[in-house]
């Protein structure tokens, strides 16, 4: 009887963030939604479950998270070991999930956690992304590999954002009812990080009015899904991203699943190689916008999801390590009494708190701009709303790659440390940390490697947007006893600004590229430090967390500043020389 929502006060703390009032009222259109049409599959009609006020909505979020926490703790987590051992199998061109995965998906479907952010008229729950983010964290803590299936609700999100109304009315209810799972089919053998190189061909067939897909896709999570979004080249003769469109493919027998990858981790998630042979598909949105607009949206959702996955895995690893250290005795003492051990444990806990606060801050930004984008389709926005749409979209676009990069790297180090705490037993398959360590590894690779997240974040951290965020956080009132932490952060800010100025004076792309990750990490530390101080202002329980985090972050940032100072262009050449790149 473990409930992953009830046993982790931090989730409720973030749900009760004051900004959630704004998030909820936008999502609920100020509680004035009246649905004229209903396309959903459930017998429960939109009017029967729409909230009447913020308190009502918040109670819905809270209670649904409690349901999710119960499923994560009582169903998903106990299944994780067998799912990892069993994995999916390919038989008769169909992917069959592990027994535990089937059970998990059934429970999630029965609880109707299948169309969390979709509007009620399609049978969804119409919950904010922030609440969905919390579900992702809990599901991932139970079994990281299940997140890859649960998180594919984002496919429906992209259909909602860009497809025509008749397509939405037909397909979104299939996702929302749990009848269909999704896949995003982008990667090809020669188009991984560089999706502009996608070659899978789509041609329009006049006689049927359908598009036909031909080609090979690789590394496709849940490739055998009932509904998939496929990135394909609709413009013959083109070579770059502008010739690509997004198409919706409904599973039939024209696609051959060639194999399931034999992976290091997330075993429960089937990663498929697939061959399309004249497979029918319909166009989503406009031609040629596939990569430049829709994939970017899809990718941002997925990046946020992976951040939640990373934080969920980290939470599981931390709890395993803590439990072990409290029980294991050596030299006549429980090992958590030894400085090298408790330092690691505390650093894990603090890192998770820091990343979690950034994750939910990012989720709230996403919520505001996405809701405003939806409202824009319904009516004219006020000047203030237009301004907010721009503002929060920028912030979400800035924070999403930042949190993805930082949380996935931290997840790798936290699971590494969790094994270290266990010693030799952690290296065996008898303890879950071994699985968590393997599951963690992919988070800093897929949906864009950390190196690409740095590329996506560097503009944000070197621009006015960063300054604006720090100014805003600094302007918020905090109790006197936390002021000393702000002072520390101000010192860190000076170090950072000096470093940025130095980089700018260099005015050299390679120099910037070389140090970009260091700059992004420094900026991340500053942002998370400020967020933790604000958390501490709301709940004294975070004061110590903020203090420990900022102390280490300051040392880290000073160190990175030194490296940036020391390694100039001439020295960068040594790096090239040693691995013979020049």
């Amino acid at each position: 009887m473990t409930n992953f929502y009830r046993d982790n006060e931090d989730l409720k703390f973030h749900l009760n963030n004051p900004f959630m009032k704004r998030v909820a009222e936008l999502k609920e259109r100020y509680y004035k939604i009246t649905e004229n049409k209903y396309y959903g599959k459930d017998r429960i009609k939109p009017d029967e479950y729409k909230p009447a006020s913020f308190e009502d909505a918040l109670n819905n979020y809270d209670s649904t998270l409690e349901i999710t926490g119960e499923i994560a703790g009582d169903v998903i987590a106990p299944n994780a070991e067998s799912v990892d051992a069993e994995g999916p199998v390919l038989k008769d061109n169909r992917v069959h999930y592990a027994k535990g995965t089937v059970e998990n998906l059934k429970a999630l479907k029965q609880a109707r956690l299948t169309g969390v952010t979709q509007p009620r008229k399609y049978g969804g729950l119409n919950f904010p992304t922030t609440v969905y983010s919390m579900m992702i964290e809990m599901v991932s803590r139970g079994d990281a590999s299940l997140m890859n299936l649960f998180g594919l609700q984002d496919i429906g999100e992209t259909v909602k954002e860009f497809a025509d109304e008749d397509i939405k009315a037909k397909y979104i209810p299939m996702f929302a009812s749990g009848e269909a799972t999704g896949a995003m089919i982008l990667t090809e053998p020669d188009a991984g990080s560089d999706l502009q190189a996608v070659q899978l061909k789509a041609h329009f067939e006049e006689s049927t009015g359908l598009w036909r897909l031909n080609g090979v896709k690789r590394f496709i999570t849940n490739g055998n899904a009932e509904l998939s979004l496929v990135l394909a080249r609709t413009e013959e003769g083109t070579k770059d991203g502008r010739g690509l469109s997004m198409l919706l493919y409904e599973r039939d027998d024209t696609v051959q699943i060639r194999r399931i990858e034999n992976k290091m981790g997330i075993h429960g998630s089937p990663t498929c190689e697939m061959v399309f042979k004249n497979s029918p598909a319909i166009l989503i949105g406009k031609r040629k916008f596939g990569l430049i607009k829709y994939v970017m949206s899809l990718m941002n959702g997925a990046r946020l999801g992976v951040s939640g996955q990373a934080i969920g895995i980290s939470e599981a690893a931390y709890r395993e390590a803590l439990k072990y250290a409290q029980e294991r005795a050596q030299f006549g003492k429980k090992i958590n009494q030894f400085a090298p051990v408790y330092e690691i444990l505390t650093d894990m806990k603090v890192k998770i708190a820091a990343l979690r606060t950034l994750y939910y801050e990012t989720s709230r930004f996403v919520d505001v701009y996405k809701s405003l984008e939806e409202i824009e389709h319904e009516r004219d926005l006020t000047a203030e709303e237009k301004n907010d749409l721009k503002k929060y979209k920028k912030r979400a676009d800035f924070y999403t790659p930042l949190v993805k990069g930082l949380s996935s790297e931290a997840c790798n180090s936290i699971t590494y440390d969790a094994i270290q705490i266990h010693g030799g037993t952690g290296f065996t398959k008898d303890f879950p940390v071994e699985r968590l360590y393997r599951d963690a590894r992919i988070t800093s690779i897929y949906e864009g490697t950390t190196q690409l997240q740095v590329v996506a974040s560097i503009k944000g951290v070197t621009s006015r947007l960063f300054t604006e965020m720090i100014d805003e956080y600094t302007s918020r009132k905090i109790p006197y006893e936390l002021e000393f932490l702000r002072k520390e952060l101000n010192v860190m800010r000076k170090i950072y600004v000096n470093t940025i100025e130095k980089v700018e004076r260099h005015n050299d792309q390679e120099f910037l590229d070389f140090h970009a990750r260091r700059l992004v990490e420094m900026a991340g530390n500053l942002i998370m430090g400020h967020l933790l101080v604000l958390d501490a202002a709301r709940d004294p329980r975070f004061k110590l967390t903020a203090e420990v985090f900022i102390k280490k972050a300051r040392a880290e940032n000073t160190d990175k500043a030194l490296v940036i100072n020391d390694i100039d262009n001439a020295f960068i050449n040594n790096y090239k020389e040693l691995t013979k790149l020049s």
């Binding site: 429960i44 009447a52 819905n60 209670s63 169903v75 609880a111």
Partner: protein
């Protein structure tokens, strides 16, 4: 096809997490000290009803529970899992009932609800472990009963086929309908609450609870929706014979409670070889542990 199913469910103190104050000095369960939960095997029974509803969508599931006003939680929790409505049998005069008095009241309530095809309940409740209320209710209603059910294999208009879990195996039996079936914990675990149903039914209230809602708007909006009404049944509603209910109707009297702790005495290490295992088997047969 569609069925009308009554599920008997009970709110029980969570005896799985018992502290020192679990018992009162007079030997009854101190309900205030233990969290109130849905009796686990009643959840298994509810799942069997829900499985029938999955197959025959127009099936109606009615929850019947007896207890103090807060036992309305059990009805709401059932609604969150797709039960359609519920009755709470509540009256101070029912207090102190043993299984005989309880089954009398339950059978009166079932008669009042009427027009049912099937009654399902858990095999037993974790607070008393008697497993008597189900069978007694069936007897009073003159219904066929199937106990220890693990799975309802098939249900037709007039016939139900059930797999029973017995000590040494399973048994498949058939019964005419209506019938009363008590469900064993080895049956399928109950499904999780459904988020949408939670949102739909969270304000479902009994008349007693409605009186406590100060918010006029909420009060009115609950009253306006039929599906949010949980019915209450009192001694008078059921026209109970006052001699057959409560303490008066309960021949069971608790004389004394003994705390029995089973202690292990000595232990013996058996090595993993045929000789020692054979020796152990012989010893166990000799001292009548086996055989």
């Amino acid at each position: 096809m569609a069925f009308r199913i009554i599920v008997l469910a009970k709110q029980v103190p969570d005896t799985r997490n018992v502290g020192e104050d679990a018992m009162t000095s007079d030997g009854t369960v101190n309900r205030a000290a233990l969290p109130a939960i849905y009796n686990p095997e009643d959840l298994n029974a509810l799942e069997q009803a829900l499985l029938i509803k999955d197959k025959y969508a127009d099936t109606e599931i009615i929850i019947l529970t007896m207890g103090p006003p807060r036992a309305a939680d059990i009805i709401r929790e059932s609604m969150f899992r797709d039960a359609d409505s519920g009755y709470l049998v509540t009256d101070k005069r029912f207090a102190g009932a043993d299984t005989l008095a309880t089954s009398y009241v339950i059978s009166k309530a079932v008669e009042k609800i009427g027009n049912y095809d099937l009654i399902l309940s858990g095999r037993q409740a974790i607070d008393g472990d008697t497993a008597q209320v189900g069978p007694q209710t069936a007897e009073k209603l003159k219904l066929p009963q199937i106990t220890y059910a693990e799975e309802i294999i098939d249900i037709k208009k007039d016939k139900v086929t059930v797999k029973r879990r017995l000590e040494r195996g399973v048994e498949v039996v058939e019964s005419s309908l209506p019938a009363l079936i008590t469900v064993h914990s080895s049956a399928e675990k109950c499904r999780p609450k459904n988020a949408k149903l939670y949102m739909k039914y969270k304000h479902a209230k009994t008349p007693t609870e409605l009186q406590t809602i100060a918010d006029d708007y909420l009060n009115q909006s609950v009253r306006n929706k039929d599906y949010l009404q949980i019915e209450e049944l009192s001694v008078d509603d059921l026209k109970c014979d006052i001699q057959k209910i409560g303490l008066a109707g309960s021949p069971t009297k608790v004389k004394k409670i003994d705390n029995v702790v089973l202690q292990s005495k000595d232990s013996k290490v058996i090595r993993d070889n045929d000789t020692e295992i054979r020796q152990l088997m012989q010893d166990l047969i000799t001292n009548h542990t086996l055989g």
